[in-house]
Every structure is written in C-alpha cells, then in structure tokens.
C-alpha cells in the first residue's frame, strides 16, 4: 500500500515544485533531478531513489498554483509520485492529465509522513488514521484524455481522424 512521503501545505506553487532557474531543461527525462530543488532533503531523497515509485505526496488546497511550466508535472511524473490534495490549480491539473501524472482530489485530506493510504475508486482511505476522504472525480472530458494514454495520444487520434494518415 502506498505510503505518504511528504506532506505539504496549501498553495504549493510550481516555483516550489520546479524552480524557474531550471526551466531551460525541457526534456521530460531530464527534469526529475530538479524536483523540489530548493527543498534539499526531499530533493536528495528523490534523486537518491529512496522514495519508491507510487509513493504519495499530500498537498493542501490549490496545489500547483502559479506558472504553466510543464516541468512541474514531468518532474513529479518522473519519480512516479501520486499527488493527493484537497484541490489543484487549473493549469497544473490539466498538465497532469495531459502527461499522465496521477493526481487525486480528496478535499480535506489529512495524513502524516509514513501513513499508509489506500486509493480506492471513489475515496482515499488513510489506513493509519482510519479516516476516509471521498474523491472528487475528474470531468468526463478530462478522463477521456487519461483513458487515451495522455494528450499526445489523444491528439494524434484526432489529427488522424481529421487529416487522414495512419493511426499512431
């Protein structure tokens, strides 16, 4: 069962997730090294592969606010983290759907580092505290992008349908 590796507060900005000075790095494969670069301990753990894939990062409200930089999404995706938060900022939410970063909106979520979280279809259950937090589902249109395997695949299909060509 996934464990909580860090708990962050409200309004965690993309400047905190992926500082602007690393934005010249555009290849998604190169962004993970800079995740939480100004948060030395967390960054070192992530880089040192001490955090198993599927681990949960718990945020408060308005997670991912600020800039539209997609590196803030690819850097977390690169570590295969799952983000559970009370709410997400719009552009970050859309980027996560587009790139396939797993995000879960569970209003009021409370957890401590080390807690075990079970991600059910309609709720997040904190096995350590015994509390259950209902999930706000994504709008259907957004779910369609996830189901297609991300926005590249989704748009590829559209493009082929509109302009002809081979289905990718």
């Amino acid at each position: 069962m996934p464990r909580v590796v860090t708990v962050l507060g409200d309004d965690i900005s993309t400047d905190v997730i992926y500082p602007g000075r690393y934005m010249a790095t555009v290849l998604p494969s190169e962004t993970p090294q800079f995740a939480f670069a100004d948060h030395a301990e967390l960054n070192a753990k992530l880089k040192g592969k001490q955090i198993p894939p599927g681990s949960v990062l718990v945020g408060g409200q308005n997670f991912g606010c600020g800039s539209s930089r997609e590196q803030a999404t690819s850097t977390l995706k690169g570590h295969e983290l799952v983000i559970v938060a009370s709410s997400f900022a719009r552009i970050f939410l859309q980027n996560s759907i587009n790139l396939g970063l797993r995000i879960v909106t569970a209003p009021g979520i409370e957890a401590a580092v080390g807690d075990e979280l079970e991600l059910e279809a309609d709720a997040v259950v904190n096995r350590t505290s015994g509390k259950r937090y209902p999930i706000v589902p994504l709008p259907a249109a957004r779910q369609a992008i996830i189901d297609a395997g991300g926005l590249i695949a989704f748009t590829k299909r559209r493009l082929v349908a509109e302009r002809g060509g081979a289905a990718g």
């Binding site: 409200d10 309004d11 900005s13 400047d15 905190v16 500082p19 602007g20 000075r21 934005m23 010249a24 790095t25 555009v26 290849l27 100004d38 409200q61 308005n62 606010c65 600020g66 800039s67 539209s68 930089r69 997609e70 590196q71 999404t73 709410s87 900022a89 719009r90 552009i91 859309q94 980027n95 587009n98 790139l99 709008p139 249109a141 957004r142 369609a144 992008i145 991300g150 926005l151 590249i152 989704f154 748009t155 590829k156 559209r158 493009l159 082929v160 509109e162 302009r163 002809g164 060509g165 081979a166 289905a167 990718g168």
Partner: protein, 434 residues
C-alpha cells in the same frame, strides 16, 4: 438568458449559438503564443505527428506567435541553443509573429502581443504562460495552458475540453487617491478572493473606474487575475480599447466589441470603491497575503525591482521617474528597472525617464522578464529582501528560497528606493527635485 463575455466568446469560437458556465467546448484559437518554452512545445508537437505519416505542420502559422523574453539575452548555452532551435523552427514553419532578442521589436510576450495588434476583442487567445490572462484587458478570452496542450493546439487549431467558466463580476467605482492605482486594486482584490478564490472562474471587470482606466492599467488588472486562480480576466472592450488598437497598436480595420448581456448570470458580484484604497503590499510568500503599506512600512529592502508584464509600461516608468527625479536610490539598496518592451524602452528614453532613473542610481536593463522569475539576472542573496512591481512572491521566485519578495505598485517601489525601507508614497519622498 443572457451571456457573460466569456460565454459569448466561447460560443462564437465553438460554433454554437450560446454557451453556459459548465459547458465543455472545443473553441477555435485565434492566437497561440509561446516564449522560450516553444522548445518544449516543438518536441511535443513532433511527438503528436510521429507515426501518422502526416507532415508536422501547424494548422495556421499566421495565428502562432513566439516571443523571446524569459531569458534575454541568453544566460546560458542551454538557453541559447533552445533559442537557436526555435529560430530555425519559426523560419521552417513560416511563423512571422516572431520577436527575437532585439532592442527595437523585442519585449515581454504579454506586452508585445497587444502592442503589435495581435490581440483583438472577442478572440480566443492561448499562451504557454499563466499570465496570458493579461490579454483579457482588450476584451479577449485569454488563458494559460501547458506546453503539450499548446502542441495539441498547433496541430488541431482548437483547444480541447475547455470548461466554460462561471464568471465573477467585479464592479469598481470611485477615483483613485494620488499614489494609488490599478496594482493596488488588483492586490486588494486578490487579498479578498484568496489565491484560489477564482479557480476555474473568469473575472469580468465593470464600473466607472474601469471605464476611465487606460489599457495599460487594465493589463495590470487582468495580468494578475491568475493569482486568484482565475482562468481568465476580462475587461469588456470599449472606446478605450478601440483607441488603444488604433493609436498604439496601429490596427486600422474595424473591430467588433463583445459586451455582456444585461441579464448575464454571475456567480458572485464584488463591489469595490477605490476612493479610500490605500497602497497595497503582498507579503511573502503568497500573493494573497495582502496588507496596506502601513502594516509593513519600515521593512528594510535590499533590492527594488520595477518592471515585468504587470508594471513595466510607460506610465509605470513615469511614476518611478517622477518620484526619483533629482533624488538618489538609498546607498544600501539596489534598484533594477526593466521596461516591458523595446518600444517602451525607446519611449522612456525620449521622455527622459531613463535618464532620471539612471541618474538616481537605478540600473536600467534590457526589456524582458529580467529578475521576475529568478532565472536570469538580479538574483537575491541569502536572507535578502526584494520589493518588486512583479506579480509573484512565491518562495524561491527570484532565485533564492531564503529571500523574501514583497509585491507593490511602481509608486511604492520608487518611494521605497529612495529611503531603503518600505515607504508609503503618500508620506515618503515627494515628487520633484529637492
């Protein structure tokens, strides 16, 4: 049932007679803007075409704009190489709305787009930059998207799965007291709404104060609506918009205005009287941590920054020059000024503002984003304090997570430059040469 401006624009762009808040639409895009992150968009764009057998061509290169601003001139070989690749791409694809690193036509994307008449009322504008909300100042529906979503727009010509936002109506009345202006208004509004109070919503500005406000002031307002989480901010286009387009952007052809219906539905209406508004400061480390200047007056400042897409326009530089003319920047304080565009830089030279600022001790830098996002120049030392007319004060925003960034208007920034501490411009050093 009537429609808001957002509902009308999205209805037109998605070929429907009407839309309602909550509808999901795929609006045709009139203008698609990127800056240096076009390097990432290009990669994703090619990935979309991979394996399809189709040639990787954008739907309409005349509707794409690429502006170099975040790191100009390039601060590293990596950026320089990204810029080089983008340059090659715009030539290959025939993208003519390209603004390179130049002292005559360059500048920050959110300034260049209106200046060159690329943005028009009623358009759908998308940009790979969260402050794309700025362009709502001209009555467009403009919002920020990620690089992969932009690649999708380049391929298809429309945005996918856009929820028509519910709209918050903000009605502003009264005359600004002296040394108080649009930046104070928007900081005050963000403080009231909170950093997420307008998430997934549009903010539509109304009232006499807005009607009398210049397009420059409206750009400041719409620019920062995203700091309350808004998808877009809109000032319905009016005579001032037409004046701006004609006189400042050189747009000759007639422009249709999109105005909201009288019976449009708003989720919330907020009334603000600016007659008694005080200068506002957003304190570290969130933009909604807003206080009147008196609450933090006296705070030591190591670096003053005047510029950015929020407050780097000619009227902003005029305010700063008026306060600093014949005075000196405090000895232990640095002052950095970066005009929002090359055109503004030239105008500020002609008006003598640059000379006033330089003689006072300010460092006037090239047009562009400068220190705003902490990647390029003007970084802060450990524990230092910046007072800035930019739009974000998040931890690490100016390149150093141990530094503090306070946000304010150009008047507060300039008055504080003279004293070296946060200063109320209504009390602090007066305009003029004593």
């Amino acid at each position: 049932m009537g429609m808001t401006v957002a509902e009308k624009i999205l209805a037109r762009a998605s070929g429907r007679p009407a839309t309602r808040a909550g509808d999901v639409v795929e609006p045709a895009v009139d203008l698609a803007m990127s800056h240096e992150n076009a390097a990432l968009v290009m990669n994703q764009f090619r990935a979309i075409f991979e394996g399809t057998g189709l040639e990787a061509k954008p739907w309409d290169p005349t509707k794409i704009a690429v502006i170099f601003d975040h790191r100009v001139p390039a601060e590293s070989p990596k950026t320089a190489t990204n810029q080089k690749r983008i340059r090659e791409f715009v030539v290959l694809q025939g993208i003519e709305r390209f603004h390179d690193v130049r002292g005559d036509t360059g500048g920050i994307c959110h300034q260049v787009l209106p200046e060159y008449g690329y943005v028009r009322p009623g358009q759908v504008v998308v940009g790979t930059d969260s402050h794309t909300t700025s362009h709502g100042a001209l009555g467009a529906f403009a919002f920020g998207i990620g690089a992969t979503e932009m690649a999708s727009v380049w391929a298809l010509g429309y945005a996918l799965n856009i929820e028509v936002p519910a709209t918050i109506q903000v009605v502003v009345e009264g005359d600004f007291p002296s040394h108080v202006g649009p930046k104070d208004l928007i900081l005050h509004l963000i403080g009231r709404l909170t950093a997420q109070g307008a998430n997934f919503r549009c903010i539509e500005f109304h009232g006499g104060t807005i009607r009398r406000m210049s397009t420059s002031g409206r750009l400041t307002l719409c620019n920062m609506t995203v700091e309350a989480g808004a998808t877009a901010g809109i000032v319905p286009a009016d005579d001032e918009t037409l004046r701006y387009l004609r006189e400042e952007a050189g747009v000759e052809e007639p422009t249709a205005l999109v105005t909201p219906d009288a019976d449009a539905t708003y989720v919330e209406t907020i009334h603000i009287d600016v007659g008694k508004l005080e200068p506002q400061i957003a304190c570290p480390h969130t933009v909604d941590n807003v206080k009147p200047v008196g609450a933090v007056a006296g705070q030591r400042v190591d670096q003053i920054v005047i510029g950015s897409c929020t407050n780097g326009r000619l009227d902003d530089l005029a305010v700063a020059a008026d306060i600093l003319r014949g005075k000196k920047v405090a000895p232990r304080t640095r002052m950095l000024v970066f005009p929002a565009s090359a055109r503004i830089y030239a105008q500020a030279l002609d008006k003598g503002y640059v000379a006033d600022l330089v003689r006072a001790g300010a460092v006037v830098m090239n047009a562009g984003c400068g220190p705003c996002l902490g990647v390029h120049e003007g970084a802060l030392g450990d524990g230092e304090v910046a007072l800035s007319t930019t739009n974000r004060n998040f931890k690490g925003r100016m390149g150093n997570p141990t530094a503090d960034v306070y946000l304010c208007s150009p008047a507060v920034a300039a008055a504080s430059a003279v004293t070296g501490v946060i200063t109320d411009p209504r009390i602090g050093p007066r305009t003029g040469g004593n």
